[in-house]
Symmetry: C2
Subunit: 143 residues, 2 copies
DNA sequence: CTTGAACCTCTAGTCGCTAGAGATTGTACG
DNA sequence: CGTACAATCTCTAGCGACTAGAGGTTCAAG
Protein backbone atom coordinates (compact mmCIF):
# COMPACT_ATOMS: atom_id res chain seq x y z
CA UNK A 1 0.00 0.00 0.00
CA UNK A 2 2.79 2.39 0.89
CA UNK A 3 6.20 3.07 -0.61
CA UNK A 4 5.08 2.75 -4.17
CA UNK A 5 7.43 3.52 -7.00
CA UNK A 6 6.19 5.99 -9.55
CA UNK A 7 5.45 3.10 -11.92
CA UNK A 8 3.33 1.31 -9.35
CA UNK A 9 1.45 4.50 -8.56
CA UNK A 10 0.96 4.98 -12.27
CA UNK A 11 -0.60 1.53 -12.69
CA UNK A 12 -2.80 1.87 -9.61
CA UNK A 13 -4.29 5.20 -10.58
CA UNK A 14 -4.03 4.88 -14.37
CA UNK A 15 -2.08 8.07 -14.77
CA UNK A 16 1.06 7.92 -16.87
CA UNK A 17 4.45 8.25 -15.24
CA UNK A 18 5.48 11.48 -17.01
CA UNK A 19 2.10 12.97 -16.12
CA UNK A 20 2.71 12.26 -12.44
CA UNK A 21 6.07 14.01 -12.62
CA UNK A 22 4.40 16.86 -14.45
CA UNK A 23 1.78 17.20 -11.72
CA UNK A 24 4.54 17.38 -9.16
CA UNK A 25 6.30 20.02 -11.19
CA UNK A 26 3.24 22.27 -11.36
CA UNK A 27 2.50 21.70 -7.69
CA UNK A 28 -0.64 19.59 -7.98
CA UNK A 29 1.10 16.71 -6.22
CA UNK A 30 3.53 17.26 -3.34
CA UNK A 31 7.13 16.19 -3.87
CA UNK A 32 7.36 12.73 -2.30
CA UNK A 33 10.29 11.38 -0.31
CA UNK A 34 13.07 9.75 -2.29
CA UNK A 35 15.20 6.65 -1.96
CA UNK A 36 18.92 7.05 -1.53
CA UNK A 37 19.19 6.83 -5.30
CA UNK A 38 16.70 9.75 -5.68
CA UNK A 39 13.79 7.68 -6.87
CA UNK A 40 10.33 8.79 -5.73
CA UNK A 41 8.35 6.74 -3.23
CA UNK A 42 4.65 7.35 -2.74
CA UNK A 43 2.14 6.58 0.02
CA UNK A 44 -1.60 6.08 0.37
CA UNK A 45 -2.22 9.82 0.60
CA UNK A 46 -0.69 10.29 -2.83
CA UNK A 47 -2.90 7.57 -4.27
CA UNK A 48 -6.01 9.43 -3.06
CA UNK A 49 -4.85 12.80 -4.19
CA UNK A 50 -3.87 11.57 -7.64
CA UNK A 51 -7.17 9.74 -8.00
CA UNK A 52 -8.99 12.94 -7.15
CA UNK A 53 -6.99 14.76 -9.78
CA UNK A 54 -7.62 12.10 -12.38
CA UNK A 55 -11.35 12.07 -11.81
CA UNK A 56 -11.51 15.84 -11.99
CA UNK A 57 -9.53 15.81 -15.24
CA UNK A 58 -11.90 13.21 -16.67
CA UNK A 59 -14.70 15.58 -15.85
CA UNK A 60 -12.87 18.23 -17.83
CA UNK A 61 -11.80 20.55 -15.02
CA UNK A 62 -8.68 22.51 -15.79
CA UNK A 63 -5.68 22.46 -13.52
CA UNK A 64 -6.56 25.74 -11.83
CA UNK A 65 -10.03 24.48 -10.90
CA UNK A 66 -8.53 21.25 -9.61
CA UNK A 67 -6.11 23.20 -7.48
CA UNK A 68 -9.06 25.02 -5.92
CA UNK A 69 -11.10 21.86 -5.49
CA UNK A 70 -8.17 20.14 -3.81
CA UNK A 71 -7.64 22.95 -1.37
CA UNK A 72 -11.38 23.08 -0.65
CA UNK A 73 -11.48 19.35 -0.01
CA UNK A 74 -8.81 19.81 2.64
CA UNK A 75 -11.15 21.95 4.75
CA UNK A 76 -14.21 19.78 5.56
CA UNK A 77 -15.65 22.33 7.99
CA UNK A 78 -16.00 25.02 5.37
CA UNK A 79 -19.24 25.51 3.39
CA UNK A 80 -19.15 23.68 0.09
CA UNK A 81 -20.61 26.58 -1.82
CA UNK A 82 -17.29 27.52 -3.44
CA UNK A 83 -16.96 23.97 -4.77
CA UNK A 84 -20.49 24.28 -6.03
CA UNK A 85 -19.64 27.41 -7.90
CA UNK A 86 -16.62 25.84 -9.56
CA UNK A 87 -18.72 22.93 -10.80
CA UNK A 88 -21.48 25.23 -11.98
CA UNK A 89 -19.07 27.43 -13.84
CA UNK A 90 -17.60 24.38 -15.54
CA UNK A 91 -21.05 23.01 -16.37
CA UNK A 92 -21.94 26.28 -18.04
CA UNK A 93 -18.83 26.22 -20.15
CA UNK A 94 -19.54 22.62 -21.15
CA UNK A 95 -23.02 23.66 -22.18
CA UNK A 96 -21.74 26.57 -24.19
CA UNK A 97 -19.36 24.28 -26.00
CA UNK A 98 -22.14 21.81 -26.73
CA UNK A 99 -24.29 24.57 -28.19
CA UNK A 100 -21.42 25.75 -30.35
CA UNK A 101 -20.65 22.28 -31.58
CA UNK A 102 -24.30 21.63 -32.38
CA UNK A 103 -24.41 24.72 -34.57
CA UNK A 104 -21.25 23.52 -36.22
CA UNK A 105 -22.65 20.05 -36.73
CA UNK A 106 -25.78 21.26 -38.44
CA UNK A 107 -23.73 23.54 -40.64
CA UNK A 108 -21.54 20.63 -41.69
CA UNK A 109 -24.56 18.41 -42.32
CA UNK A 110 -26.09 21.08 -44.54
CA UNK A 111 -22.87 21.31 -46.50
CA UNK A 112 -22.89 17.57 -47.05
CA UNK A 113 -26.59 17.54 -47.96
CA UNK A 114 -26.17 20.33 -50.46
CA UNK A 115 -23.24 18.72 -52.16
CA UNK A 116 -24.28 16.99 -55.36
CA UNK A 117 -21.17 14.84 -55.37
CA UNK A 118 -20.02 16.02 -58.73
CA UNK A 119 -16.91 18.05 -59.42
CA UNK A 120 -15.13 20.50 -57.20
CA UNK A 121 -16.08 23.36 -59.52
CA UNK A 122 -19.70 23.05 -58.58
CA UNK A 123 -19.25 21.72 -55.08
CA UNK A 124 -21.27 23.47 -52.42
CA UNK A 125 -18.74 22.58 -49.77
CA UNK A 126 -16.00 24.48 -51.51
CA UNK A 127 -18.37 27.30 -52.43
CA UNK A 128 -19.57 27.80 -48.90
CA UNK A 129 -16.01 27.95 -47.67
CA UNK A 130 -15.01 30.36 -50.39
CA UNK A 131 -17.98 32.65 -49.85
CA UNK A 132 -19.43 32.52 -46.42
CA UNK A 133 -22.36 34.81 -47.27
CA UNK A 134 -24.13 31.72 -48.61
CA UNK A 135 -24.07 30.37 -45.13
CA UNK A 136 -26.82 30.10 -42.55
CA UNK A 137 -25.36 31.21 -39.25
CA UNK A 138 -22.71 33.29 -37.63
CA UNK A 139 -20.42 31.60 -35.13
CA UNK A 140 -17.89 32.47 -32.55
CA UNK A 141 -14.78 30.51 -31.96
CA UNK A 142 -15.05 26.99 -30.65
CA UNK A 143 -12.56 25.57 -28.23
CA UNK B 1 -8.84 46.23 -53.87
CA UNK B 2 -5.22 45.37 -54.46
CA UNK B 3 -1.94 46.23 -52.75
CA UNK B 4 -3.33 45.95 -49.28
CA UNK B 5 -1.10 46.26 -46.27
CA UNK B 6 -1.31 43.46 -43.76
CA UNK B 7 -3.40 45.69 -41.50
CA UNK B 8 -5.92 46.39 -44.26
CA UNK B 9 -6.14 42.71 -45.12
CA UNK B 10 -6.63 41.98 -41.44
CA UNK B 11 -9.57 44.38 -41.19
CA UNK B 12 -11.17 43.17 -44.40
CA UNK B 13 -11.09 39.52 -43.49
CA UNK B 14 -11.26 39.84 -39.69
CA UNK B 15 -8.13 37.83 -39.11
CA UNK B 16 -5.55 39.32 -36.80
CA UNK B 17 -2.26 40.55 -38.17
CA UNK B 18 -0.04 38.08 -36.28
CA UNK B 19 -2.32 35.27 -37.38
CA UNK B 20 -1.84 36.24 -41.01
CA UNK B 21 1.92 36.16 -40.57
CA UNK B 22 1.56 32.83 -38.82
CA UNK B 23 -0.43 31.42 -41.75
CA UNK B 24 2.30 32.53 -44.08
CA UNK B 25 4.92 30.89 -41.90
CA UNK B 26 3.14 27.53 -41.92
CA UNK B 27 2.48 27.78 -45.63
CA UNK B 28 -1.27 28.28 -45.62
CA UNK B 29 -0.87 31.66 -47.29
CA UNK B 30 1.74 32.27 -49.97
CA UNK B 31 4.45 34.80 -49.18
CA UNK B 32 3.25 38.04 -50.81
CA UNK B 33 5.41 40.59 -52.60
CA UNK B 34 7.03 43.24 -50.45
CA UNK B 35 7.60 46.97 -50.71
CA UNK B 36 11.13 48.28 -50.86
CA UNK B 37 11.02 48.53 -47.11
CA UNK B 38 10.07 44.82 -46.82
CA UNK B 39 6.44 45.34 -45.90
CA UNK B 40 3.89 42.84 -47.22
CA UNK B 41 1.42 43.84 -49.92
CA UNK B 42 -1.61 41.66 -50.65
CA UNK B 43 -3.98 41.30 -53.59
CA UNK B 44 -7.53 40.10 -54.23
CA UNK B 45 -6.41 36.51 -54.44
CA UNK B 46 -5.07 36.69 -50.90
CA UNK B 47 -8.35 38.12 -49.65
CA UNK B 48 -10.23 35.11 -51.06
CA UNK B 49 -7.78 32.59 -49.79
CA UNK B 50 -7.69 34.05 -46.31
CA UNK B 51 -11.49 34.23 -46.22
CA UNK B 52 -11.64 30.58 -47.15
CA UNK B 53 -9.23 29.78 -44.35
CA UNK B 54 -11.14 31.85 -41.84
CA UNK B 55 -14.47 30.23 -42.70
CA UNK B 56 -12.96 26.80 -42.47
CA UNK B 57 -11.42 27.61 -39.09
CA UNK B 58 -14.79 28.88 -37.88
CA UNK B 59 -16.19 25.53 -38.86
CA UNK B 60 -13.54 23.92 -36.72
CA UNK B 61 -11.37 22.36 -39.41
CA UNK B 62 -7.76 21.98 -38.40
CA UNK B 63 -4.94 23.36 -40.45
CA UNK B 64 -4.16 20.06 -42.13
CA UNK B 65 -7.76 19.69 -43.32
CA UNK B 66 -7.73 23.27 -44.55
CA UNK B 67 -4.55 22.62 -46.47
CA UNK B 68 -6.28 19.73 -48.20
CA UNK B 69 -9.47 21.67 -48.84
CA UNK B 70 -7.49 24.54 -50.33
CA UNK B 71 -5.60 22.28 -52.68
CA UNK B 72 -8.84 20.56 -53.68
CA UNK B 73 -10.51 23.88 -54.38
CA UNK B 74 -7.73 24.66 -56.82
CA UNK B 75 -8.72 21.75 -59.04
CA UNK B 76 -12.35 22.39 -60.12
CA UNK B 77 -12.38 19.49 -62.60
CA UNK B 78 -11.70 16.88 -60.00
CA UNK B 79 -14.50 15.00 -58.25
CA UNK B 80 -15.47 16.62 -54.96
CA UNK B 81 -15.65 13.34 -53.12
CA UNK B 82 -12.37 13.93 -51.25
CA UNK B 83 -13.75 17.24 -49.94
CA UNK B 84 -16.86 15.37 -48.95
CA UNK B 85 -14.84 12.91 -46.97
CA UNK B 86 -12.96 15.62 -45.10
CA UNK B 87 -16.20 17.28 -44.08
CA UNK B 88 -17.75 13.99 -43.06
CA UNK B 89 -14.75 13.04 -41.00
CA UNK B 90 -14.92 16.39 -39.25
CA UNK B 91 -18.65 16.10 -38.68
CA UNK B 92 -18.13 12.75 -37.04
CA UNK B 93 -15.52 14.12 -34.71
CA UNK B 94 -17.80 17.04 -33.83
CA UNK B 95 -20.54 14.56 -33.02
CA UNK B 96 -18.23 12.49 -30.87
CA UNK B 97 -17.24 15.56 -28.94
CA UNK B 98 -20.86 16.55 -28.45
CA UNK B 99 -21.67 13.11 -27.09
CA UNK B 100 -18.71 13.27 -24.71
CA UNK B 101 -19.63 16.70 -23.50
CA UNK B 102 -23.23 15.67 -22.97
CA UNK B 103 -22.13 12.82 -20.74
CA UNK B 104 -19.94 15.24 -18.87
CA UNK B 105 -22.75 17.74 -18.54
CA UNK B 106 -25.15 15.25 -17.04
CA UNK B 107 -22.45 14.07 -14.67
CA UNK B 108 -21.85 17.62 -13.51
CA UNK B 109 -25.57 18.28 -13.14
CA UNK B 110 -25.93 15.17 -10.99
CA UNK B 111 -23.11 16.35 -8.80
CA UNK B 112 -24.79 19.69 -8.32
CA UNK B 113 -28.18 18.10 -7.68
CA UNK B 114 -26.78 15.73 -5.10
CA UNK B 115 -24.96 18.44 -3.20
CA UNK B 116 -26.90 19.47 -0.13
CA UNK B 117 -25.07 22.78 0.03
CA UNK B 118 -23.73 22.17 3.49
CA UNK B 119 -20.13 21.69 4.45
CA UNK B 120 -17.29 20.31 2.43
CA UNK B 121 -17.07 17.29 4.73
CA UNK B 122 -20.39 15.98 3.50
CA UNK B 123 -20.29 17.45 0.03
CA UNK B 124 -21.14 15.01 -2.72
CA UNK B 125 -19.09 16.97 -5.20
CA UNK B 126 -15.93 16.43 -3.24
CA UNK B 127 -16.88 12.85 -2.45
CA UNK B 128 -17.47 11.92 -6.04
CA UNK B 129 -14.12 13.38 -7.01
CA UNK B 130 -12.35 11.62 -4.18
CA UNK B 131 -13.97 8.27 -4.89
CA UNK B 132 -15.05 7.78 -8.42
CA UNK B 133 -16.75 4.44 -7.71
CA UNK B 134 -19.80 6.40 -6.60
CA UNK B 135 -20.08 7.66 -10.09
CA UNK B 136 -22.47 6.75 -12.86
CA UNK B 137 -20.44 6.42 -16.03
CA UNK B 138 -17.07 5.73 -17.42
CA UNK B 139 -15.60 8.30 -19.73
CA UNK B 140 -12.80 8.66 -22.13
CA UNK B 141 -10.82 11.80 -22.55
CA UNK B 142 -12.49 14.92 -23.92
CA UNK B 143 -10.68 17.29 -26.21
C1' DC C 1 10.87 67.05 -42.54
C1' DT C 2 8.86 65.38 -38.68
C1' DT C 3 5.86 62.59 -36.20
C1' DG C 4 3.72 58.50 -34.93
C1' DA C 5 0.97 54.61 -36.31
C1' DA C 6 1.80 50.60 -38.57
C1' DC C 7 4.93 47.53 -39.86
C1' DC C 8 9.08 44.27 -39.34
C1' DT C 9 11.59 39.95 -37.06
C1' DC C 10 12.39 37.13 -33.33
C1' DT C 11 11.51 34.80 -29.15
C1' DA C 12 8.67 33.00 -25.71
C1' DG C 13 4.28 31.81 -23.66
C1' DT C 14 -0.40 29.45 -23.63
C1' DC C 15 -2.50 24.29 -21.90
C1' DG C 16 -1.86 19.68 -20.48
C1' DC C 17 0.63 16.79 -21.40
C1' DT C 18 3.96 13.52 -24.49
C1' DA C 19 8.35 11.97 -26.45
C1' DG C 20 13.01 11.29 -26.43
C1' DA C 21 18.03 11.43 -25.07
C1' DG C 22 21.33 9.98 -22.11
C1' DA C 23 22.55 8.78 -17.47
C1' DT C 24 21.58 6.33 -13.07
C1' DT C 25 19.22 3.00 -9.87
C1' DG C 26 16.77 -1.01 -8.26
C1' DT C 27 16.05 -5.83 -8.37
C1' DA C 28 15.85 -10.58 -9.84
C1' DC C 29 18.51 -14.31 -11.09
C1' DG C 30 22.58 -17.25 -11.41
C1' DC D 1 28.37 -11.26 -5.19
C1' DG D 2 28.01 -10.03 -9.94
C1' DT D 3 25.46 -8.94 -13.78
C1' DA D 4 21.78 -7.80 -16.76
C1' DC D 5 18.10 -5.10 -17.77
C1' DA D 6 13.82 -2.82 -16.61
C1' DA D 7 12.62 1.16 -14.38
C1' DT D 8 13.79 5.38 -12.91
C1' DC D 9 16.08 9.96 -13.14
C1' DT D 10 16.64 14.99 -15.31
C1' DC D 11 16.39 17.87 -19.06
C1' DT D 12 14.78 19.65 -23.29
C1' DA D 13 11.68 19.99 -27.02
C1' DG D 14 7.27 19.34 -29.32
C1' DC D 15 2.10 19.35 -30.03
C1' DG D 16 -1.89 23.08 -32.24
C1' DA D 17 -3.17 27.40 -33.30
C1' DC D 18 -2.22 31.04 -32.12
C1' DT D 19 -0.95 35.41 -28.81
C1' DA D 20 2.14 38.74 -26.57
C1' DG D 21 5.94 41.52 -26.28
C1' DA D 22 10.58 43.57 -27.22
C1' DG D 23 13.12 46.34 -29.96
C1' DG D 24 13.83 48.21 -34.36
C1' DT D 25 12.19 50.12 -39.19
C1' DT D 26 9.01 52.14 -42.66
C1' DC D 27 5.20 54.50 -44.48
C1' DA D 28 2.18 58.37 -45.06
C1' DA D 29 -0.09 62.50 -43.43
C1' DG D 30 0.55 67.17 -42.34
Amino acid sequence: MTNLSIGELSRRVSVKVPTIRYYEQIGLLPAPPRTEGRQRRYGAEDVSRLSFIRHARELGFDVEAIRELLSLSAAPEQPCEPADRIVLRHLESVERRIAQLQLLGSELRHMLDDCRHGQVGECRIIQVLADHEQCRHEHGRVS
